[in-house]
């Protein structure tokens, strides 16, 4: 069953600043973004939608959202024809949840080759009697590297997670980590590319702080 998304015409930034600038949200048919745009509205951050390569020029940073199945999401992203443009982006780009997993090389979910912006792999949590999957709820995020994305957010702050797959820990790319049966990447960073596994739009005040920080990168 195909999920009907809200038509983009219904998603209108309430920000009065609709000239070039702001956040472009990459639209590729993977999930609902109402909570994300609502969070941006609450923060007074300007945003718009990216459907074509030309749309990228209108914004000065980008969010790649995503929920659901990583392999399916990658197929949808490929159908948009935006993949080469995304890989070539020079401006700050934030992947959220599956949107972050897409930036890795590979996911066990659907045995899928992904964007390979990060060489890391996305793996499935092992079944265990102690740790339920999906990892659902609020867990602590520990910053591993100083970065303005986490400005004004204390290390160990809780963020909201819902996921069954995780990105392996990596000394070079892991910006923040979370422990859930093992230590994995809560956030990754390479050049202008950032990713968070948790949902900042659902993570209370600290989640909003992170989105605000991203808008100032």
């Amino acid at each position: 069953m195909e999920i009907n998304e809200r038509p983009d015409s219904e998603i209108v930034s309430s920000s009065p600043f609709r000239e070039p600038g702001g956040i472009g949200i990459v639209r590729y048919g993977a999930g609902n973004i109402f909570s994300l745009t609502s969070a941006l509205d609450r923060l007074g951050l300007s945003y718009g939608m990216i459907h074509t390569k030309a749309d990228f020029d209108q914004y000065d940073r980008y969010i790649i959202p995503g929920v659901g199945h990583a392999g399916t999401a990658m197929n949808k992203l490929q159908q948009t024809g935006l993949v080469p443009a995304i890989k070539a982006l020079q401006k700050p780009t934030l992947g959220i949840c599956v949107g972050m997993q897409l930036m890795t090389a590979y996911s066990e979910e659907g045995d899928a080759d992904l964007l390979n912006i990060f060489p890391n792999k996305t793996l499935k949590f092992k079944d265990s009697d102690t740790y339920k999957v999906p990892h659902t709820g609020w867990n602590q995020v520990f910053q591993e590297t100083e970065n303005p994305l986490f400005a004004d957010i204390p290390t160990g702050a809780h963020f909201y997670y819902v996921h069954s797959y995780y990105i392996e820990y990596n000394d070079l790319y892991t910006l923040a980590s979370t422990d859930y049966s093992l230590k994995y990447s809560a956030s990754i960073w390479h050049n202008n590319f950032y990713g968070v596994q948790f949902h900042p739009e659902k993570s209370g005040v600290y989640g909003e702080t992170l989105l605000k920080n991203f808008s100032n990168l």
Partner: protein
């Protein structure tokens, strides 16, 4: 055992709001609310107090219900920065689809799942298991826990634990278990049943029914290791304040988000 290690998943505290025609029902006596019947203002207040998640149970009976539910979900999603679930009257994929697109994080199904268990499979396939909570109202009949409908009034032929296992295998992402024997008693959660259920499934369990004081929350987390605890009136009437509750849980070495 509790997750006491660094970075353990926090136990969730979940206030539940009954909503009818877009307004909260049951008395709410927060002192600083302008309008105690406005679910969005109430939800905002709870999110500010440190609630980890919210459940809205819609008991609207009119044929306009889907429209009012969607409007409510949109308003909540616009204003509230924590996850929330909506339950009540979700009978088909189209209901769930409308709520997802309005910004609901999860839906809760109860009677519809009992009447048509395949609905769980369909919802999980369409939206992912994380979107589907199966709510189970249980009551003891001749020393057996039996699933009940309509707030405990109608007994079914389903034994509670086997129904919960079936729901899990069909694609429930979470179980909201309400003990009708404990609900309203304020004598504590049904920890024995909750432990049995929690030990038998691999998906999160939300305990409901019986909360009367802070120690009851300590007990349920220590004795059963459920993932979340839900209550309504003790929060609405200010008998338990969420910041106090979180402090008590933390003092008892239970992982919480402060």
């Amino acid at each position: 055992m509790n997750f006491l290690a660094r970075g353990g998943l926090a136990k969730r505290i979940v206030p539940c709001l009954d909503v009818k025609d877009g307004r909260t029902v049951k008395g709410v006596n927060f002192v600083d609310l302008r309008d105690a019947g406005d679910p969005v203002e109430l939800a905002w207040n709870y999110s500010q107090q440190g609630a980890d998640e919210l459940v809205f149970l819609d008991i609207t009976a009119t044929h306009e219900r889907r429209k009012t539910m969607v409007e409510l979900v949109k308003s909540v999603a616009r204003q509230i920065n924590i996850p929330f679930t909506i339950g009540g009257g979700i009978n088909e994929i189209a209901d769930a689809d409308a709520l997802l697109n309005a910004g609901a994080d999860k839906i809760s199904i109860n009677s519809a799942a009992v009447r048509n268990p395949a609905l769980i499979d369909e919802l999980a396939k369409a939206f992912g298991v994380q979107f589907v909570i199966v709510a189970v109202d249980t009551r003891q009949v001749n020393n057996t826990n039996i699933v009940h409908l309509n707030g405990g009034r109608i007994a079914t032929d389903k034994e509670t634990l086997s129904w919960i296992k079936e729901a899990e295998s069909r694609g429930a992402g979470e179980i909201l278990l309400t003990s009708m024997d404990h609900d309203g008693t304020k004598a504590g959660f049904d920890n024995r049943l909750l432990k049995t259920v929690n030990d038998a499934v691999h998906i999160p369990v939300i305990a409901s029914g019986g909360a009367g004081n802070r120690q009851h929350f300590v007990d349920v987390f220590e004795q059963t290791n459920v993932d979340a605890a839900l209550a309504a009136s003790v929060f609405h009437y200010g008998e338990i304040l969420i910041p106090d509750l979180k402090r008590t849980l933390k003092e008892n070495h239970i992982e919480v988000r402060i």
